[in-house]
């Protein structure tokens, strides 16, 4: 009897949360061109803005030995001009029409996007179709972009604390299959070795309409948009569908390594566990475990480690870390986290504390009240994210490419909200055991190499 009111409250709360998320249905219209390109349209006439998003089924895990960093180098080449929009025109056209643009490389996909005033839809389609059809691959552009990418590596990794360890060392602990364990930004040697012929072959193999999804979100007239899409993309020839590399992993062996980081001042530890199959019930349950542990100011890490034990200074965690989110890895993926901690503690102590927090979920589960809080937090975060046309386009494209179903955007919150305390407990037991754990301890190692020495 005593637990009943709490339980009832939780059920009622879940009811209203589901109602709020149901109110939030993203309209989706899909079709496929004759050349195999999948198209997802989502109309939203509230702001005169349109987001155009093209996602290709190729990523760093598609790379071959001796060509690490190639997917990312290629992403740069996509901005170097095409038959009718020579070098500089892509940037100039988008920006001079009031838009913003970018592209990004991930383990299992590469994406390109621009957001523009809604009247410039045709302009974006012209640019995206021209580079899909006729990318200009020249020696000059390639050598120039090799330099830009090397600079990017120096800026983002080699000259920063933690990041070299995270991009070069961490994958070797998290995965055993070379496709997943190699450096995703690549080595300078491999970047130097890339040839124009490599770039052309990569383009032909992966940048075909049948390996792409085009998403348009925003203030569009659907019939007119379809006509424009057919006009610009309809006659780009299909290519043989590229095979997905063999990403299968041998049975996981627990691993740990200590990395001495000359640029770090505060110690950090990376902890990860192989994840469940994407979109399986366990996947949603483990996402909820993550939320209980790490989401927001009332999460367990915040209350018990940052506050209670006062050992952790700050942390990041999610399925897909060190990438942005759970959507980044198509299988196999992992659940990983990075914690910066106070010098008075050691890496193994922090790992122990994290494992204790996990053990509490494994043993005691999660109370109805806590679960209700976590659900509200997740739902609100999701609605915040959905405000931007571009984030909706990204989700629609990623879910179409990686899950085969754009409507996951409308169902995944309900699946998350429906995860039960028992499933949370079970997922913590099944996936977050110490014998399924990889640990990278990043220890500051400041040794001045020349006179002076920045303190």
């Amino acid at each position: 009897m005593k637990v009943l009111p709490v339980l009832l409250l939780a059920l009622i709360a879940l009811g209203t949360l589901l109602a709020e998320s149901a109110e939030f249905t993203i309209p989706i219209e899909t079709h496929k061109l004759a050349n195999g390109m999948r198209v997802v349209l989502s109309r939203d006439n509230t702001v005169p803005v349109v987001a155009v998003y093209v996602i290709y089924g190729v990523g760093a895990r598609s790379e071959e030995k001796g060509r690490t960093g190639f997917a990312h180098l290629f992403e740069h080449m996509m901005f170097q001009g095409s038959a009718n929009a020579p070098k500089g025109v892509h940037f100039a056209t988008v920006e001079s029409n009031g838009g913003v643009l970018n592209g990004s490389t991930h383990p299992d996909y590469t994406d390109y996007f621009e957001t523009l005033p809604a009247n410039k839809l045709a302009t974006a389609l012209w640019l995206e179709s021209d580079r899909m059809r006729s990318l200009a691959i020249t020696e000059d552009n390639l050598s120039n972009q090799k330099e830009a990418v090397k600079q990017e590596r120096r800026l983002t990794f080699d000259n920063q604390p933690y990041n070299t360890a995270i991009v070069d060392v961490w994958p070797t602990l998290a995965f055993q299959n070379w496709q997943s364990s190699h450096s995703l930004i690549g080595s300078f040697e491999d970047l130097n070795a890339a040839s124009v012929a490599d770039v052309s072959k990569f383009f032909r193999t992966y940048y075909a309409p049948n390996n792409a999804v085009l998403v348009i979100v925003g203030d569009i007239q659907t019939a007119e948009a379809k006509k424009l899409i057919e006009t610009y993309f309809g006659d780009i020839p299909a290519q043989p569908q590229p095979a997905r590399p063999d990403l299968s992993e041998p049975p996981f062996k627990t691993r740990k390594e200590v990395h001495r980081d000359p640029l770090a001042r505060v110690p950090a530890v990376v902890i990860g566990y192989p994840g469940p199959p994407r979109r399986s019930p366990d996947y949603y349950a483990l996402n909820m475990v993550d939320a209980v542990l790490t989401a927001g100011e009332s999460s367990r890490f915040q209350l018990n480690l940052v506050k209670g034990k006062q050992s952790v200074v700050q942390y990041e965690a999610n399925l897909g870390w060190p990438f942005a989110g759970p959507s980044d890895y198509k299988d196999p993926g992992l659940y990983a986290m990075n914690l910066l901690y106070k010098p008075g503690f050691t890496g193994p102590q922090i790992v122990e504390q994290v494992q204790e927090e996990i053990a509490k979920i494994q043993k005691e589960g999660v109370s109805a009240k806590e679960l209700e809080r976590v659900r509200a937090f997740l739902l609100a975060s999701r609605i915040r994210q959905m405000q931007s046309a571009l984030s909706r386009a990204q989700m629609l494209g990623q879910y179409t490419l990686l899950d085969g179903d754009p409507n996951v955007i409308n169902t995944e919150m309900q699946r998350l909200m429906a995860v039960t305390p028992e499933q949370i407990q079970e997922a913590a037991r099944k996936y977050l055991a110490p014998d399924k754990r990889a640990v990278l301890d990043i220890v500051p190692d400041a040794k001045p190499k020349s006179s002076g020495g920045a303190q």
Partner: protein, 468 residues
Amino acid sequence: MRQTALLLLLAAIMPVVVHSQTVDRTKPPQTPPIPDFKLPSLYETSLPNGLKIVLVEDARFPLVTLRLAFLGGSKFDPPSLPGLSESTAALLTEGTKTRSSRQIAEELAEIGGTLNGASGPDGLTLAGSSLADHAPKLIEILADVIRNASFPADEVELRKQNRKEALRAQRSQPSFLADEKLAATVFGSHPYSHIAPTMESLERMDQKALANFRDTYLVPNNATLVLLGRLPGRQQTLKLVRAAFEDWKQKALPPAPKAEFPAGQRGILLVDRPGSVQADIHVGQLAVTRSSPEFFPLMMASTILGGGTNSRMFRNIREKEGFAYDAHSFLDTKRDAGVMTAITQVRNDVIEPAMQALLTEMEGMAKQAVPAGELSASKNFVSGVFLLRLETQDGLATQLSNMKILGLPNSYLEHYTSSVRSVEPDQIQAVARKYIAPGDAAIVVVGDASKISKPLEKFGKVTVTKAN
């Protein structure tokens, strides 16, 4: 497999019935004119205690977003306690007379809420949001933390310890070291010259100093409350605001620090960071505020020089020369001053040609008038980005509270696009002469002195220094 089947099914029931047209691919397409878009309308009022209120009703998403902004940024830090404003902001949500830090965190999570204090050069701002239905609760918690924050000793101590570690981590970032030195050089003795606390000031910060700062600056007659989103109607919202803030007492404010800045002087400050594989170059000098008639011309000049991928710095330093991944410039405006800054990070062996290329681009802005095509492209870019920033509740709330912190009239947002459109090439050249190319900008480079000090001497007297 099931998912693939589903996709095929969708394709089958939605056959493609459109036909392609012939199109001239060699040219960008003709497009219809830009659609009209009006900013959502603002409703402004104030309470008798001086609290200014801005309401924007926008029902698109079931969320509410708020800002409570005070003129209480780091500019108001006592000289002996840099970082006091920042610490006060961070600790407001860590306990009140009736709520513990944990209760605040849990009550916020229950309403899908967030509430965080942060401090900038001029303003101290509490930023929050929640699911729309819970707006009353969010306002109640906001009022409690701002009026009753108790700065519990254990929370203060923890924040000090964690901020020290965060500061240590920041100090390992070359960009932070460069920002720090540039601010110190450009602003001299003005409080804008410090951008972070020090280990010593953190050590000295206590409950009393925090409460004193709160009692001095976080008062209603020094604040603007911005509320937007799916609000419970104007009257109901105002009722909630009055209930929460009506009896909050106003207080006389101390005078703001005087704005006196040193004259610019060319010199190269090299912050030695042994082992750096790159040199971080920051060139900066004092410029104008947003209320100056020179602001829009200089903002356009800065955009043409280094704003976005179509700018001169990006095209030449990155795309043509391959010296850098990042090359950009921006006009950073505070309430009392602006700083025109250009930044790039280059590999050690090209430091000399890269520095030359950067200075040449800066001087080029003053030498020739910007061609009409380049200017109109840049105007479109700036106007478009302005529109995109208003897409989310957070974006609009940030714009509105920044406007108040910078002391700008509402017409600033309303006329933003037309102000951009009206900038002429000769105005750009004139401000470039004054603020981009006069040769007395400060140059700060963070990198391995043993590798880059020699080539830098070509550009002026090099002073090698350690990071603080």
